[in-house]
Symmetry: C2
Subunit: 761 residues, 2 copies
């Protein structure tokens, strides 16, 4: 599906609008924010996974020369906070619940002094029995991590659509299995950090590398007991987010507390160890049992699922993540009768949270492998099974997700072609195999306050150049470039004549921020709405100058043309003339967009997003049966993201998400020892480096999302969703073993190969 | 004249919105702007009043360790710039034209190194004959300061309205005289300064303590040869403007050149000596001959005037200032037949420019004394003469200024009452006397690009609190407090719930900035327009919640009430509900206002402002005939500024302007020696201190400007306009001498007293 209007900027490669600053080192990350006289903040963290705090003595720390402030729970309102469940404290109150939990903090003239002061704080703990896995946590007589939650269960979901029992009874082939996934850390280049200032007039100003600054503002205002207007969040350059910088942690709050108490600016940047132990909230580990029934022809007839998810010590976004794992998958394939039960369970480990893909990768790891198992049982090529069941425009999932634009089948077709699937599937070369998996993602998600909107203000200078004020936030994903492209396209000016602000809660209008693959779609629609309104003002003025009607005008490269009359005038001339005259006014417009989605009701029925994006992937692997090493020989990733606004950026998203998908599949993992992560740094936690990346072929479906800006929808997350399952399926095709717990380490592969060989022997 | 609506915030005393930051020292002036690694910039200035530059050798300066950049005219486009006449260079090209003219500049690691490098720059000059007074400059064979201007005359105005010869012939009493005025420096607490950054991507960011940041942007972009969008001006806190910080000087431009060349941030803050020699552009000295003819009953019948104004070496705003001196006075009293001739003449002294009152004080010094002389000749009480001739609503000046709101007669009545004029005028106590003088000022002036508009964007947070984005600029005058009051009043929220941005050309819409007493009127109208638009959105949402119609609603203190139905809802509740819902959008609106004034045509006919403000003052002085000292025993200042938005701020304006008026009248003056100001610092230049201030009585006319926001109009400048004449008139009443050259020093008084005594002897 294509569109009538010829696009000159959207759909064409655009270098990053902030690229120059980044490559020259002038971009300002948290560490670069000038804050003369800023103190260094350091946090005292719990060494215990579960303990009662009996006493905190800060006297010696306070007496140390160079220390300006020491804060404990005494300095807080002891008010729980969190995105959905308000179970987290700014500083531990009475109890600590994981190794790394914040107990106290110090602001001092330098880092060394702050560290020394931390060592001088004396905390008496009474250690409590701890639980580190969901099974133990849910067992009778397990220690209660939070008093009010029975069996440590934060939330339980139980939903049936249709008649699952009947549907299974009517199924010809039924398969089932259980799959487990692990924590995955975002491991961005830059750790979480903030610089907080406090004016005794009552206002906090916090420079943060957050993805979601207005949400951060709301939460921080709540914890500090002030109004939103009393907190100003200024987004710094962000060195990678991936969900980990969406303000579910205490870094900025503690900086704010220290700034208030010390009367000085306070900078706290997580060390890499802190980042792993207690910083960005890693992906929620899940155990997923899933059962699917098929008709003889391969059509999915029934599905049942049971999830137990490891929440860690506090909730953050895990309730929503588990909800996504439970339901969203059913927007990929045509489901009718399904039943899902899911339990989110506290353990004495790091709180879990949002990571690119949200609940998808954990669910896809299970379901997309089970479909592969189903194909085997049906004697079908799994690609054909997926193509047969793939959703199409007009599909409504059992939970209400309405699919309008959808090119999932086209994605599968492209994967087939680019992987040369038919040949490779037939080949059955020893130790080599291919696998396929698909996914669906959202373009924004309605799960906060019945709102999934965005807004932007665009002004045009008297020189005809354009400035966008947006509060969504560039976090390295390229959103600001996309926004500038959309505005340039709509206004008919050169991309180089469009600039964009940093996000700042005081200066920009409310935006939910960067999560849920929402920026191109929701943020882009808001930018487009503002640009359309601005263009109307511009064309009205131009029509007056050209003595024509606005509807006859078109604009391109900074020229406004009356095509019929063969007359034109430059945008700059119009802009200057519209301002500098009697009754003049600057050209400025605000646009807003709220997705046409529906908040889930109490039965969890709704339509979570305004548009759904899809992906299909195929992997070709070779398994070294001596070492258990899995080598990915080639990889194909195809996405349906509607119109590709910026091809350079889109390829970056595809490549980056594949790297995270491969890491999730093969290497990323930290051992815990009594609740303490072992070796919490890049030495212990292996993310794929460039040498680990396979040759990647990618493609984008020819697609146009009717509700998107110039036909665009989300892309950023779907690329890592099905990767682990895809690799798992290829491994099965290669060597006939099925790994069911992530990551797929050589040790696990070897063990299963030995088991296989023993079976065959 | 009063208004129907009861005001709860406008008209009530409001503490400064930025007051807390100022009194606690956290407000950021140029010196406080954090710029890590910023270099110190220093400027090499001409020691000659007029000279040809033969050669500049910067080699030794460049070689000095710690020097990052040296710039000369070679680093510029050699492009003249200026508000009206583009005769000034960023750095001297070929010639220097006054002592202090910028020749070269250095950026170095610290001030000492920069200063040392300045001393290492070798400049060969060929000294040229110089002219230091307008008479010599206009003489045959005078040295040409700028090649293209004959007799060194930049601009000549010659306008006659009606038939002046006939009108004088019909006059019963005719008086004439010549009065001279001097340079007056703004002498603010903070000197001009800037911090410039340059990104090799092509963008300059300049932190400046300017009054007029968008105008600064336009001029700086022009000099640097870039587009407006390539220059971002961020206004710092401003430690006093008074016209001197309206970007007619080279400080920021040189900082930008050094930043570009060095690749580092560069900070240049004028020393106090530089500020006097070549920084803020002092008031234009003028010689004014004026002749007025009266009917026997005291009505003004004819007026003729000749002005010669000392432009100094470059033009800046002097052309407009001389235009104001030439014509605006005729909006105070009813004139019909007038003739004016005015010449603006280059001399080899510091360029002159805008100072509070613009052209008024220089003209008032002459005309308001001549009216006093006329009253004597007519045998009238001068107060009666002024009251008889004072303009009233409906008056149109000979040059087209249309007076709508006007309470000048009420001002005169109030002066009469508060000075106990009748008694004191009759008393004739030896060496004591009273004087009166009036003035008119504008509320914005249409003299740039046929525009006298303003704009503002207001957003309401989800907590119902309000944030204003305004590019007009707080410079210490209290404009931001007035804007917050107007927004709070219109939106019905508490003043403490309104905040306002700093002005920033990237983030705020185009505003002309702080000059011409325009902010309360023009800027205030723009803020009010934005608030009205925002209130419409707010009331629409509130009406939905209260199940009523928007027109039935009113708001006060953050509550929106349906008075008839006795129902209400808080603004915060409405704001949150309007955002967080399906189809939600943030509350935000932009407002614009352009004054209903008319640009002067080629005959200088127009209507310069949307509203005129008026003032009347009376002084009671005592002259010490032994020392020549003039002591002001009491002073009355009455203003017609329409509605007084902030009584605290208004009194500050009245008091501050009186101090500058008294300084202008009695003490402020620098001697020049061969074009070089002698003793250019506060030791040599005496501004009144608190002990020099007389007991001040003030009043504000009961007044309502129909076109103003809540009836308000300008106030800031009129308080110093007539002060010198008022004191001069009082001295005449006290001791019968008429001082005709400013300032009124004891030496001049003594000399005239001796002359008087000799005459009487």
């Amino acid at each position: 599906m294509t569109q009538a209007r010829e696009l000159t900027i959207v759909g064409h490669p655009a270098p990053r609008v902030e690229g120059f600053e980044k490559v020259t080192g002038s971009a300002k990350y948290v560490a670069d924010i000038p804050a003369p006289g800023a103190l260094a903040g350091k946090i005292l963290r719990s060494p215990y996974a579960h303990a009662r705090i009996l006493r905190i003595d800060t006297a010696r720390a306070e007496a140390l020369r160079g220390v300006w402030a020491v804060v404990t729970a005494e300095d807080t309102l002891r008010r729980g906070w969190g995105a959905f469940v308000q179970d987290q404290m700014a500083l531990a109150t009475d109890k600590v619940r994981y190794v790394g939990d914040e107990v106290a903090a110090v602001a001092a003239v330098d880092e060394d002094t702050a560290r020394a002061a931390i060592d001088l704080i004396e905390v008496s703990y009474e250690e409590l029995p701890a639980v580190f896995d969901t099974e133990s946590a849910m067992a009778d007589g397990a220690p209660q991590i939070h008093d009010q939650y029975e069996r440590n269960t934060v939330i339980t979901i139980a939903v049936e659509r249709g008649d699952v029992e009947k549907a299974f009874a009517e199924s010809d082939v039924i398969v089932e299995d259980t799959f487990e996934s692990q924590h995955q850390w975002h491991a961005p280049l830059e750790t979480i950090g903030s610089v907080a200032e406090y004016s005794p007039s009552g206002k906090y100003t916090i420079y943060m590398n957050t993805q979601t600054l207005f949400m951060a503002r709301g939460r921080i205002a709540w914890v500090l007991g002030v109004s939103e207007a009393d907190v100003r969040i200024i987004q710094t350059e962000v060195g990678g987010g991936f969900g980990g910088k969406s303000c579910d942690d205490n870094n900025a709050i503690i900086a704010a507390l220290l700034a208030r108490k010390s009367g000085r600016s306070v900078r706290i940047i997580n060390t890499r160890e802190e980042e792993f132990m207690a910083g960005s909230r890693p992906r929620v580990p899940m155990r997923v049992w899933v059962k699917i029934g098929f008709s003889r022809d391969g059509r999915i007839r029934a599905k049942q699922m049971r999830i137990v998810a490891d929440n860690g010590a506090y909730s953050g976004k895990a309730p929503a993540i588990m909800g996504v794992s439970a339901f969203r998958h059913e927007t990929s394939y045509k489901y009718s009768d399904t039943k899902t039960e899911a339990h989110l369970v506290y353990t004495n480990k790091i709180p879990t949270g949002a990571f690119r893909g949200f609940g998808n990768p954990s669910a896809d790891w299970a379901v997309e492998q089970l479909l592969d198992i189903g194909a085997k049982a049906l004697g079908m090529d799994p690609l054909e099974l997926l193509r047969l069941n793939a959703v199409e425009p007009g599909y409504v999932s059992p939970h209400g997700n309405r699919v309008e634009g959808c090119e999932l089948k086209q994605c599968i077709d492209l994967v087939e072609e680019k992987m040369d699937w038919k040949t490779k599937w037939a080949a059955k070369t020893p130790n080599r195999g291919v696998g396929i998996a698909c996914t669906v993602h959202v373009s924004g998600k309605r799960h906060f306050m019945d709102y999934d909107g965005g807004s932007a203000t665009i002004k045009m200078n008297e020189d005809g150049k354009v400035y966008i004020l947006s509060g969504e936030g560039e976090i390295g994903q390229g959103a600001n470039t996309v926004f500038c492209q959309i505005a340039a396209e709509e206004l008919g000016v050169k991309l180089s004549d469009v600039s964009i602000s940093r996000a700042d809660t005081d200066l920009t209008t409310f935006c939910l921020g960067a999560f849920g693959s929402r920026l191109t779609y929701v943020g882009g629609n808001a930018v487009k709405a503002a640009a359309t309104a601005l263009r109307e003002q511009l064309f009205e003025a131009a029509a007056e100058m050209l003595e024509t009607e606005p509807r006859k005008l078109t604009a391109r490269d900074g020229e406004i043309l009356d095509v019929g009359a063969e007359t034109s005038v430059s945008t700059a001339t119009v802009a200057r003339a519209r301002l500098f005259r009697r009754g003049g006014a600057p050209l400025v417009a605000t646009g807003a967009f709220d997705a046409d989605s529906v908040m889930q009701d109490v039965t969890r029925y709704g339509n979570e997003s305004g548009a759904y994006n899809f992906g299909a992937q195929a992997a070709e692997v070779e398994v070294d049966t001596e070492t258990g090493q899995v080598k990915i020989r080639s990889y194909v990733s195809v996405a349906d993201c509607g119109t590709v606004v910026n091809p350079i950026g889109a390829v970056g998203q595809v490549t980056g998400s594949l790297a995270q998908g491969i890491g999730y599949a093969l290497t990323e993992h930290l051992e815990f020892d009594n609740g303490r992560p072992v070796d919490p740094n890049y030495h212990g936690y292996k993310i794929p480096c460039i040498a680990d990346m396979p040759p990647l072929e990618y493609a984008f479906a020819d697609s146009y999302e009717p509700s998107g800006p110039f036909g665009a929808k989300g892309l950023g997350e779907l690329g890592s969703d099905p990767t682990a399952a895809c690799i798992g399926n290829a491994i099965f095709d290669a060597v006939g073993i099925r790994i069911k717990t992530l990551p797929i380490t050589p040790e696990k592969v070897l063990a299963l190969l030995r088991e296989r060989d023993a079976r065959q022997a």
